[in-house]
Symmetry: C2
């Protein structure tokens, strides 16, 4: 059996009781760490589970996972994923491949930022489609996600913006070399996201979203040191909310009174 | 301290390790059972936790919760909620009231249908706003949710439809009497939802959604006997997926190839 187990968002104890039972009984347990991260690392998880974990990076998940999937025909193999296991397309693809090999799959759901973003008091059913904000480079500054934010905003819907994560990304120089070198991991902050949005607004001033639009930064959701800040977009450029992961929410222009009251705590 | 603890979606073991620790140490533990249900009842949970639970019905949550909130100033009180604790406005309101009384609140997130709907292979970031489909009566047949489905569909977004739940609803006759009488609980099935949608389409034939549109029924998500069925809307009227809870998804018209492949399992 191949198990995909969600770890939730905070630390080791955010796994479910069912998930923990599976981790303890499996023959091999892989830990995926490039689509999201917990506030604790591999060592803390290994101590909590009382067993070793195999790190599953992008290369393994997208290239060499088949070996593990085939092994799961006769053994119990688990892949641990931060948040919910079906948040990323990689895992949907993995399940289809497992089925091709005749391997049974079991999924253990958990909280993900897609529902836990409700911690800021904005109602989940008032969210439109989710967008991802990528890191810009000097020569690559895509802004197509902004149209989706504007689309949601104009229909009075909130937008959850997932912020870019770069983990084990090869450096540009090493792409042509035999030995890959990797960049230091980086995680986009709400500050950085706000600053990219301000630049887009300068180029597209007619969108309805301005530097005075209220935005909400949520950080380390579910962890004891979770932070939430409601600021204008201009102010958010200066708002330091500490270590990753960060997400940014662009609320609808007209809020429900309960949403307004709840957000007031974070001004 | 007042704890709001999410129970996830399947059975007793879907609580997180952190959540279980809180349940075990609290002075009083309330179980909310009218916004959603697990596949197991109060007795199974009590046995698993090794402690009694107080049922918190709508009257208690919306009327008499203040007594418990005030008690949480000096004691540890937990309210257990199926899914994620911030899925319903009732709980956001409760947190604001707790803060007014000077009571600290801690939230333990968990999976909810808002993210676990990804079990059908449709990507979460391609979902537009969520809608609720209410039970119709002979004289009350609202269909405003349909405009939202059409809005999502026309922008190539999926729609999650949450289906009505009637738990401890007073009968109409007893509303004017001293002694309240309650209807049997009922939970809308994908069959019933599909049949209401077919009636709406007859009235509004120009929406782009027809009886031949592909829809997906998801039932008892996260439980061992989870069911997923992909059918035309017409066929879904005859599709019996067993006990509650059910939800219905109206996929976008143009799917990603991986979404199409994944859904093919459920035809």
């Amino acid at each position: 059996m191949f198990f995909l187990v969600g770890l939730g968002l905070g630390d080791a104890k955010d796994i479910t009781v069912r998930g923990l039972e599976i981790v303890k009984k499996c023959d091999k347990v892989l830990l995926e760490g490039y689509t999201s991260i917990l506030t604790v690392g591999k060592e803390v998880l290994e101590e909590f589970y009382g067993r070793p974990l195999i790190i599953a990076d992008r290369e393994l998940c997208e290239g060499n996972i088949d070996d593990f999937l085939k092994e799961a025909k006769d053994k119990d193999i688990a892949l641990l994923v931060v948040g919910d296991p079906l948040g990323a397309t990689t895992h949907t693809d993995m399940i289809l491949r497992a089925k091709q090999f005749g391997v049974e799959v079991q999924i253990v759901h958990n909280a993900s930022i897609m529902n836990a973003v409700s911690c800021c008091g904005l109602q989940l059913y008032n969210f439109g489609e989710t967008v991802s904000i990528p890191y810009w480079t000097e020569t690559w500054q895509p802004d197509s996600f902004f149209e989706k934010i504007v689309g949601n905003f104009s229909r009075n819907l909130h937008t959850l913006c997932l912020l870019d994560i770069k983990v084990k990304e090869p450096t540009e120089e090493s792409l042509t070399k035999k030995v890959r070198q990797y960049m230091d991991p980086k995680f986009m902050s709400v500050k950085e996201a706000a600053s990219q949005l301000v630049q887009i607004i300068e180029r597209k001033p007619q969108s309805g979203i301005t530097n005075d639009t209220l935005v909400v930064g949520v950080c380390r959701v579910g962890a004891p040191d979770q932070q939430i800040a409601a600021r204008t977009l201009r102010e958010m450029q200066q708002c330091d909310l500490g270590p990753p992961l960060h997400s940014l929410v662009i609320p609808a222009p007209d809020l429900h009174p309960l949403e307004t009251d709840y957000l007031a705590q974070f001004r």
